[in-house]
């Protein structure tokens, strides 16, 4: 019961518990998808024209939808948190118990290094532009690519930290897809959309498959 490996298993099981039902993956997928749609929408001429028309017709207050659209993703995340809590309390975790995860799943050096990856990517893009190797839009696309690398690194580190292989796979595929963005002739807004939807699809597939397994296990136990 209390050999070093038993204690380590207890620690790992508890750290993994939060990610064992896939709801976290679905929450991240929703965040990525909605944020990318919001960024894409804000850069669309029809959206800017629509807001301009509304302001002209109904006054400044009509500009609020423009601001609210940027809040949809954070609000959805908060809503999802409430829903996750409800589903877990009432059903998924009712028998196995509730756990509030540690604030930092990965060591601080991983967080610092993920920021360094993002900044290094952007610095390289600016350098390459100054050398005349690439065009302006490369820097904007690099914003998404470097964000993808940074998130992929965090996900892979988390997978290794808590022994969850699915995060190694999602991180590797997501990092690769983010790299492709650099070489596609996309505008900033479309690159944002492709970036968010790619991560969203990857995470939602992982989340749904994990949730299905968790539901099957829960149903079998009833």
């Amino acid at each position: 019961m209390t050999s070093p490996s038993d204690v380590e298993r207890l620690i790992q099981d508890t750290r993994r518990y939060e990610f064992g039902d896939g709801l976290r993956d679905i929450q991240m997928a929703i965040y990525f998808a909605l944020s990318s749609v919001a960024v894409w929408l804000v850069f669309q001429p029809f959206w800017v024209t629509l807001l301009g028309d509304l302001v002209e017709r109904y006054g400044r207050g009509a500009a609020w939808p423009g601001i609210l659209v940027m809040l949809i993703a954070p609000l959805a995340v908060i809503g999802m948190l409430g829903l996750m809590n409800f589903v877990r309390k009432r059903w998924l975790w009712r028998e196995s118990g509730m756990v509030k995860p540690a604030r930092w799943i990965v060591p601080r050096r991983v967080t610092v290094l993920s920021v360094v990856i993002l900044l290094a990517g952007l610095a390289f893009a600016v350098f390459a532009r100054r050398q005349g190797w690439v065009e302006d839009s490369f820097i904007l696309r690099m914003l998404w690519t470097a964000s993808g690398w940074s998130f992929a690194y965090t996900l892979i580190s988390m997978g290794r930290e808590i022994d969850l292989d699915r995060y190694l796979l999602i991180g590797a595929i997501g990092g690769l897809l983010s790299t492709f963005l650099l070489f596609l002739p996309l505008t900033f807004a479309v690159a944002a959309l492709v970036f968010g939807l790619s991560w969203g699809v990857l995470l939602s597939i992982s989340g749904i498959l994990t949730l299905r397994r968790a539901v099957d296990a829960r149903t079998a136990g009833e």
Partner: protein
């Protein structure tokens, strides 16, 4: 005598007890866990778990919040910063000793 063996005399006996070690391991890995989770992961009986939790709380290693969720009582346990330090130090000593014995 190896340092690891000498350190054995300084080991935290409160945490060294197997059931309390399991409780501390679980609580050190999260922000908080409820009584049901601890019951399932440690495999202790309700009475035993309560007794061990009280001992750890008296030592200042864990914090216990008792509340009602609707009609049902809910006990939430979390590791205090003192408890986290004590567990980390214990775990270092214990791992070093286990490694020494394996050699």
């Amino acid at each position: 005598m190896a340092d690891e063996i000498k350190d054995l005399t300084k080991i935290d006996r409160l945490i060294h007890e197997p059931s309390r070690l399991a409780i501390m391991a679980v609580l050190s890995a999260c922000e908080s866990a409820d009584f049901t989770y601890l019951l399932n992961t440690t495999g202790l009986t309700k009475g035993n778990l309560s007794a061990h939790l009280s001992k750890l709380e008296d030592a200042g290693y864990i914090k216990i919040v008792k509340r009602f969720k609707g009609k049902y009582p809910n006990t939430l346990c979390s590791c205090s910063s003192q408890g986290r330090r004590a567990f980390e130090s214990y775990w270092k000593q214990y791992s070093a000793l286990a490694q020494h014995l394996e050699q």
